[in-house]
Symmetry: C2
DNA sequence: GACATCGTTGCAACTGAGTTGCAAAGTTTA
DNA sequence: TAAACTTTGCAACTCAGTTGCAACGATGTC
């Protein structure tokens, strides 16, 4: 049983060929992927399948979505501590994401936690999205602007 | 000359009837509006006009866009300090936004600044989006779950 | 093994947000 | 008033994502 099959079964999702493939893709990229990005990588898989598969994964808390705003929602597999079927960002391991404006990739700063601020009275906070944008090291080097 | 006309002229945008109307709407709501929300409020104005007007406003730094992820991009007029044609979030007055998952409205916590965290080496940060989600006071009260 | 059942697949058709083409209307300048 | 330019408003388009539906495949029962 492959790692992907294991993760799927663990979350109560039947490990079909497409699901294994899609999960494998997201895991291998090691960064949050949008539906369109998955579509591009997996040319052979119909977008309706990707759409439905991602919905299934979400329902089973196998991944969570992050928003980098610039285009579409991206999906990230929870590598953090899973307990009670929750993935990291549904628990307390909120981390910062970074979206490169040049190459369009989104990165996880897993070591960097989101600082909690004081909110006005009466607001109930359920989740927080901390998204920084700019240039990733590679694009920063390419553009010849190498200072930090 | 109305306040709206003044703002438009100040930013080098010719104050036409539609532009005044759209700006007035955004100002009056006092919270970031999405294109669709503006469309709903201003039934008489065609969405192509709203689309083009918002593009014009953006080009002239009259407003900036924030992303609450859940649906579309929202626009907010800069009430902060404007200098050099930059609006607040393009300068250093980054503040926290809050999106209510029940009523779908987005609020500005203008008093709450985004805390800056340490990023991994090599990443150039240009902008930051700090978006909290949950229930606003009104929806929180309605749902009978009134604790903070 | 044959049959019924149920979830999954893959195509096509749809939806909804947003943009663009284009001609008519309005504004500005000489 | 005429020429040049901008804005308007409709319709047509684009693009991402979802849904309808029939075919397919896996699983379970007799």
């Amino acid at each position: 049983m492959s790692n992907e099959e294991h993760i799927l079964t663990e979350h109560g999702v039947k490990p079909t060929a497409n699901r294994i493939l899609i999960l494998k893709t997201i895991l291998e990229e090691e960064r949050p992927l949008s539906m369109t990005e998955i579509e591009t990588i997996l040319e052979t898989v119909d977008k309706s399948i990707i759409s439905r598969t991602l919905a299934t994964f979400r329902e089973h808390h196998l991944l969570h979505d992050i928003e980098d705003g610039s285009d579409s929602v991206r999906y990230e597999v929870c590598h953090g501590h899973h307990h009670d079927g929750l993935c990291c960002d549904e628990g307390n391991d909120l981390h910062v994401h970074f979206h490169c404006e040049a190459c369009g990739r989104t990165f996880c700063f897993e070591k960097t936690h989101i600082p909690i601020v004081n909110y006005p009275e009466g607001f109930q906070i359920h989740s927080i999205n901390y998204m920084a944008k700019g240039l990733c090291p590679e694009c920063s080097a390419k553009s010849g602007n190498n200072d930090k």
